[in-house]
């Protein structure tokens, strides 16, 4: 497979009381053409900020201080603002957890999409409306003709998310960034949206960067997985590798503490303690304070994300050699 998006050393900082805090800290990512990469982690781990950094939409006072974001070889961080705007419209689209935040409440949803289409291509209103109707059919909106003239508040949560997906698809993007796309939805509606994203991805050969905290969604939708903890990617691998043989202690803990995989009556294996806030990040591994396998080196040095087998990476001193191994020298 060929890489569509290659991210190297991406670092996004926010000012803190005692100096800048790297909320996204030197991360590498790759999304191939036609694949779904899941970026998974708990709240505050920096996964959404990573997505916003790729789009160059980091809210102030945050800023990208280092790294490259190559879309088919072209570094997006180097592009002039006007060209970046074009990339955001045509090449990369984004959907969010709460569709209402991205829909204008006083404009019919059809008009919002027609406007988006006409902003990016010179096409007549009638053609754009017809395209919009076709998109509504593709994303499974019943009675599409009537729904074009509906206002956002007249639609259910599931339909609003379908409208958002239609809007994202309207400019035929190569990459869809989906940030917690089903988190606000009920479980039966969530299942509908997962199936829809899977179908669209397959039919269009589009790539998806899925941002989520939910391992169930990761399993249902992704091809490859990157696990993020406290600003850094700690493990990457194929979906099956991550679920079957997670190697990083955090990934293992995350899977084991999920009640879906536990036996009723058995004690849930918890990850002790709490996620450290960016102010508490030390110079060592950020998971060390909660890690059962941690040893001296973990407090002193940040482990690099290293290849452990073909296309399988982990950032852990214990895997690199452990307390008795080369890690200590």
């Amino acid at each position: 497979m060929t890489a569509l998006l290659e991210v190297e050393g991406l670092t996004t900082e926010f000012p803190g009381a005692r100096g800048a805090l790297p909320i996204v800290d030197g991360n590498d990512l790759r999304v191939d053409r036609g694949e779904v990469l899941a970026l998974v982690g708990e709240s505050g781990c920096g996964k959404s900020m990573t997505a916003l950094s790729l789009m160059r939409l980091v809210p102030k006072p945050g800023r990208i201080v280092a790294g490259r974001v190559r879309l088919e070889g072209r570094d997006l961080l180097e592009l002039p603002v006007t060209e970046m705007r074009r990339v955001r419209g045509r090449r990369i689209a984004m959907i969010f957890q709460e569709p209402m935040t991205s829909l204008n409440p006083v404009v019919p949803v059809g008009d919002q999409i027609i406007e988006a289409i006409r902003l990016h291509e010179s096409t007549s209103r009638r053609e754009a409306r017809e395209r919009c109707r076709e998109l509504f059919v593709e994303v499974g909106i019943p009675a599409p003709e009537e729904r074009l003239d509906a206002y956002p508040h007249q639609l259910s949560g599931g339909l609003k998310q379908r409208v958002m997906i239609a809007m994202a698809l309207s400019t035929r993007p190569d990459l869809l960034i989906a940030d917690e796309p089903t988190t606000a939805l009920d479980v039966t509606i969530q299942a509908q949206i997962i199936r829809l994203l899977r179908d669209i991805q397959r039919d269009r050969g589009m790539s998806i960067l899925l941002i989520t905290h939910d391992l169930g969604i990761v399993n249902e939708l992704s091809d490859r997985v990157a696990v993020m903890y406290a600003g850094r990617i700690v493990e990457t691998g194929s979906r099956k590798q991550i679920f079957r043989e997670p190697v990083h202690p955090y990934t293992r803990g995350l899977l084991r503490s999920n009640p879906t995989l536990a036996q009723p009556g058995e004690r849930l294996p918890e990850i002790a303690g709490v996620v450290p806030s960016p102010e508490e990040w030390g110079k060592g591994c950020r998971f060390a304070t909660r890690c059962a396998d941690h040893f001296d080196l973990c407090d002193q040095e940040v482990p690099e994300l290293r290849e452990i087998a073909g296309d399988r990476r982990a950032a852990c001193h214990a895997i690199d050699g452990g307390p008795a191994g080369g890690g200590r020298s």
Partner: protein, 345 residues
Amino acid sequence: MSRSPGEPLLQVEGLRTWFPIKRGLLQRTTGHVQAVTDVDLEIAPASTLALVGESGCGKTTVGRSILRLTPAQAGRVSFEGVDLMKLSEAKLRGYRRHIQIIFQDPMASLNPRMRVRDSVAEGMRSFGIGRDEADRTERVKALFGKVQLDPGHIWRYPHEFSGGQRQRICIARALAVEPRLIVCDEAVSALDVSIQAQILNLLSDLQRDLGIAYLFITHDLGVVRYLADRVAVMYLGRIVEAGTTEQIFSRPRHPYTRALLAAAPSMDPDIRGEAPPVVGDVPSPSDPPSGCPFHPRCPEAMEQCERELPPVRQDAEGRVVCFLDSVVAPGAAESADPTGGEEFA
């Protein structure tokens, strides 16, 4: 105690909570949001009943109606044999001590300007627990230990704690008045998985050590399967199926229960949901469909389902409200081993 050992701690019968829709200048009632209709529930002492359903199904209203935080129009809510619906406000206050509630968002249920010691001690003071303030402070410290928080932190403010720690404070506050039942309304839904596991373990420890029963209101089937002894499934204000957790997950009888289970994302890397999910959206509770509330979305709906509400079928397995089940079940019962029913007797 005068109660017989098999008696439920809480028994809800025919609970109905409808909210009037008022329109126009005269604010005439033009309809009702039928949040909860004819709900029956039972919770045994020291057990967990999960009430599951999607948003708007009425599960939160059931919890609030049991505590009389939301007035119900009809029904019995008997707690240790006493009908809470018939009690005067003054008498009800005494019972509030026995039934506590914790919510999804601990920040919203803790006063941000109050030291957490005072939030936790508030209930004790109003129920006369503890000799004096110094004694209550000691009790708060002990409660902090019980919910695995640092007793040295009792004088802090809520914002000085993390989300998981704040939920522990809410649990400590509920425990402070020594309840026999805690209604947990999406109590772990907003927490990250690693923190959620800590709180679920804490809740099981407390049940084992203190014999507390839980009414666990949630949309998360993974949590239900792990935690609950029995499950009641709600759809559009009604309970459509109830049974043991084992039965609900391995032999769901209602098509909605089956749809709900099929829709839950799989965590098995060899299995992804492929079956087409149930179609459409949940209808509005202010204008529920005729007949069985699930019929517009039910893949097995028959003509009858549109016209009539299916009868409640209660048997050894549990309870189900579906025409299909009452058609299938008699035959199944005949073929069953006649001694098989004894364990339920």
